[in-house]
């Protein structure tokens, strides 16, 4: 650890000294060609000048100011922060995969293409939706792909002009309404009923002939099964609309029930969640879409296809919504997810959902009584508590509870989401936490509930044992400082005339 008390005040830009360098670059030894005219060339670029050791120490120090799944329990609801197998990283870094140029001829890329085709087939099998597009770079782009497929399908059947609306439950991730808007639809919110599932009567009232699709997260963001989803699917299809599935929570139902069997037309998956690719501090991820055969022609480009001679190549589906990236998608992430599925097989994946759900329910049982449980139903992969009593009775907000958890050595859960739960604490332990670590986490939250009664200011002041204390977020937004600026030059002596 540094003895410098204010690491944040000194960027790489503020360290080192002119003339230092972290790496050597060869000089051109041959006859130099003339450079382009000066008008096309830049002035000197301002970048840090550090020796290699200094730069490595700086970023090593920064890494010490971070908390990852490898650091400890990270029960961030709806994010599925499970342990990431290291062999999957190793596979993706094999030079035969990692060094390939995206435009390399298909004949020279059969190993990668075979692996991608196998991944697509496995995801199709797991979702019951066999038309799979691997191109989307993340869940939100997968959503966009899915909703553009809906748009294209309606357009192809001459039904787009009349179907302007997309229905989204009030418990949905913010990406769902944002995606529907990006895909050119108007959003109508559908309320959830007292049991946390979609209010069927409210749905019936708004589900008209002008609806393009209903977007549903299964299980929903309360960690609950969406009761009657098969009936919802039938009703949506009767109205001529499509059923979109947000597969962010697939971990709960892996191998147990399939989107296709439930009546979904298209879903996106988050491979960095369910299939355990490292989250990377906020990406990269991958967000494949899985769809019914009827929607296959609309999949994002490219998809892998097999020719009669058994060779593979990338093609553009007939009525594709188009490409989502300049090349083919997050290949490195796809390779990791493939390795994960191949390591576990179907029995291993069923053990994933079994243990994820057991862990969440065990945690629920250990915390019941300490925090309010707005929905009394059995949990699936995650459980949503409310800190409302703590706020009402002790003036302690969920925000304070989350900060205090840091002092106990845990990453806090997702807070203030879903929006329909006041002071929400959304906890997803995942299957890779042991019984003991769940018990330790629950013990910490129970201790915090007691602290809230006894000494609320302890929570208001938390965290005390973190690399930095609470930050002035309002100040950051009011007067944004968003990049390094060189220190102000000392003023030149004024020329008195």
């Amino acid at each position: 650890m540094s003895h410098d008390g204010d690491v944040g005040a000194r960027l790489a830009f503020d360290r080192g000294a002119p003339g230092r360098r972290a790496v050597d670059v060869a000089r051109w030894e041959g006859t130099p060609a003339a450079l382009p005219p000066p008008g096309l060339l830049r002035d000197a670029v301002r970048l840090p000048e550090l020796s290699q050791g200094e730069l490595v120490r700086y970023y090593t120090e920064l890494s010490g100011r971070n908390f990852g799944v490898d650091s400890g329990t990270y029960p961030l609801g709806s994010c599925t922060m499970k342990y990431n197998p290291k062999v999957d990283d190793l596979v993706a870094s094999l030079p035969a995969f990692a060094e390939a140029h995206p435009l390399a001829p298909a004949a020279t890329m059969q190993g990668t293409l075979r692996t991608l085709a196998e991944l697509a087939a496995m995801l199709g099998e797991l979702t019951g939706l066999p038309a799979v597009g691997l191109a989307p770079a993340a869940g939100a782009q997968g959503e966009l792909a899915g909703m553009l497929m809906v748009r294209r399908a309606l357009e192809r059947r001459g039904d787009l002009a009349g179907r302007r609306r997309v229905l989204v439950p009030d418990s949905a991730h913010g990406t769902n309404p944002a995606t529907a808007a990006m895909a050119g639809f108007e959003v109508t919110e559908v309320p959830s009923g007292p049991d946390g599932s979609i209010d069927q009567q409210a749905l019936a009232r708004t589900l008209d002939g002008d609806v393009a699709a209903l977007m549903v997260t299964v299980p929903n963001t309360l960690g609950l099964w969406e009761r009657g989803i098969e009936a919802v699917a039938a009703r949506v299809h009767e109205a001529g609309a499509l059923l979109y599935g947000d597969g962010a929570n697939l971990n709960a139902i892996l191998g147990r029930v399939r989107f296709g069997d439930l009546g979904f037309d298209v879903v996106h998956l988050n491979l960095h969640k369910t299939f355990s690719t490292p989250h990377g501090g906020g990406g990269p991820g991958a967000g494949p879409v899985c769809a019914t055969p009827a929607l296959a022609p609309f999949l994002p480009a490219p998809v892998v296809t097999e020719d009669a001679d058994g060779s593979l190549r990338l093609v553009r589906p007939e009525h594709s919504i188009g490409q989502l990236q300049q090349f083919h998608g997050s290949i490195g992430v796809l390779l990791r997810a493939h390795a994960y599925i191949r390591s576990l097989g179907i029995e291993g994946l069923r053990a994933v959902s079994a243990n994820a759900v057991l862990n969440a329910n065990y945690l629920r049982a250990l915390l019941e009584g300490s925090y309010a449980l707005p929905y009394q139903r059995r949990a699936l992969h995650e459980v949503v508590f409310s800190g409302s009593p703590q706020r009402r009775e002790h003036g302690v907000r969920t925000y304070d509870i989350a900060k205090r958890l840091i002092d106990y050595g845990f990453h806090p859960p997702t807070v203030y989401f879903p929006l329909i739960v006041e002071e929400a604490l959304m906890i997803e332990p995942t299957e890779t936490e042991s019984r003991e670590s769940i018990e330790a986490f629950a013990a910490a939250l129970r201790a915090i509930a007691e602290e809230a009664e006894r000494d609320p200011d302890l929570l208001h002041a938390a965290p005390r044992h973190a690399p930095i204390g609470r930050l002035d977020e309002a100040g950051a937004a009011r007067r944004p400082v968003l990049r390094w600026q060189p220190p102000a030059q000392p003023a030149e002596p004024r020329d008195e005339r």
Binding site: R65, P95, F97, A178, N355, E433, D472
Partner: protein, 451 residues
């Protein structure tokens, strides 16, 4: 659950004994009970997956698959959007630290300062390279970042058409069309900036252009502004070690691909979309933004400097259907790698690497152009890619080189530009092995002599 009652997989710690304790606490006999809400008729379908593989078996399978990829080892002269770079060794070392790699979006700044401060470094590096005032923390790739830039331009101008200036990477143009389909925007392809009209929200221009030539961005930006539109420059950040910063030349928004400086090409992904803008568009930016701030009062201490996600009211989780984008999980780890590579190179190193790239490419082109039957198409100043016409049709030339285990430049002969006629687009960078260039020149010499 498993024979012998052990843990079911190496990644699941709980044994049958643990599960028995937990189930007892829940007062149920079986985990299956927890799934009672799922529709019984659809429960536990038959799912056919290949059998599970132990770690060593998995590595053997993938090593076999890898051996079916010939592309990695061959001399390759493909560029066209993905450029092999000499990546400093420390980059892979530092980004593999699991405190970086296994964390997520920094929702809790107190224990995410590593990710947040590194993102601030990234924004700073991007602003310096592009000559822009603000940057987000990165997007999926250059093409989707460009599409988001077009959506921004349409929002702020209120115009419903986009202009793409050729030659533009076809993948970028394709992605812009995909996003424009959702937004209901028209996409026009222009062969000259003067074709801009008052209907266009923006003009998208690639630097260097898709066929390798360095543009005079100032005149492009001028034409866009004359039409009341924004200029979106799609710039190669490595080339900006040498070339004029697009912001300095008048661009309003700059996008670019950061993958090449983050690591190996990886068959094209994951990637890193650079997105930088003039300050006046700050509240219209898609994606995450990190800001610098200070601790709230800390008893007995001077508040320390820290970093937070900021200006979040633009984002989907607050603004929902009215957000600037649905963007959520991005490319943080690639942004970190990009930042470390650029900072390791430093101001002199980046300039020298860009010049080395320029010189190696020009030397290779000169050698090829001197071969009987071969010519380099003259297009003015260029950086690392050049158009080659040979004694054979492009596809045939590429086939003959492939027979010698050399991957030729991209066949661009079907493109509309006259200069692309009968041509292959070759790329040589600072990371291209000199002996690969020697092999190419020798092979071309042989092919030229025989035809």
């Amino acid at each position: 659950m498993t024979a012998g009652g052990g843990a079911p997989t190496p990644y699941i710690p709980n044994t049958d004994a643990d599960r028995a304790l937990m189930l007892a606490r829940l007062g149920i006999d079986s985990i299956e009970t927890l799934f009672d809400d799922l529709p019984a008729a659809l429960r536990d379908p038959a799912i056919a997956l290949p059998p599970a593989l132990a770690e060593a078996e998995l590595m053997r399978l993938l090593a076999r698959r890898g051996a079916q990829n010939a592309a990695g080892e061959r001399p390759s002269f493909l560029g066209a959007g993905a450029y092999r770079r000499s990546i400093p060794a420390i980059t892979a070392h530092l980004v593999s630290r699991s405190e970086f790699a296994t964390s997520y979006t920094p929702y809790q700044p107190e224990i995410s300062q590593g990710t947040l401060q590194a993102a601030f470094e990234y924004q700073s590096v991007v602003c310096e390279l592009t000559g822009m005032e603000v940057s987000n923390t990165g997007m999926y790739d250059v093409a989707s970042a460009t599409a988001e830039a077009c959506l921004l331009a349409a929002r702020v101008t209120g115009r419903r058409a986009l202009a793409l200036l050729e030659p533009l990477h076809p993948g970028t143009a394709d992605v812009v069309r995909t996003y424009a389909f959702g937004a209901g925007l028209r996409v026009d392809t222009l062969s000259a900036p003067q074709a801009m009209t008052a209907e266009h929200a923006c003009l998208v221009a690639q630097q260097p252009d898709f066929l390798g030539a360095i543009r005079d961005l100032e005149s492009v930006a001028g034409a866009a502004h004359d039409a009341g539109a924004l200029c979106i420059a799609v710039a190669d950040p490595f080339a900006l070690g040498l070339l004029r910063a697009p912001g300095d030349a008048g661009a309003d928004l700059v996008t670019g691909e950061g993958r090449d400086l983050a690591g190996p090409p990886g068959f094209g992904g994951p990637s890193l979309g650079i997105f930088a803008a003039r300050e006046r568009f700050l509240r219209q930016l898609p994606g995450r933004i990190v800001g610098r701030t200070r601790e709230l009062a800390r008893e007995g201490h001077e508040p320390r400097t820290g970093y937070v996600l900021t200006l979040q009211a633009r984002e989907q989780f607050i603004r929902r259907e009215r957000a600037t984008s649905n963007f959520s999980t991005g490319q943080a780890l690639l942004a970190l790698a990009f930042t470390i590579s650029v900072q390791a190179l430093g101001p002199q190193g980046l300039r020298r690497a860009a010049e080395l790239c320029y010189q190696r490419a020009h030397d290779a082109a000169a050698r090829i152009g001197a071969l009987p039957g071969f010519a380099i198409v003259e297009r003015g100043p260029w950086f690392q890619e050049f158009l080659v016409r040979g004694p054979l049709p492009p596809a045939e030339l590429a086939r003959r080189l492939a027979a010698r285990e050399i991957t030729a430049g991209l066949d661009v002969s079907a493109r509309p530009e006259p200069e692309a006629r009968d041509a292959l687009l070759f790329c040589v960078t600072e990371a291209t092995a000199p002996e690969h260039v020697d092999a190419l020149v020798a092979a071309m010499g042989t092919i030229g002599a025989r035809s």
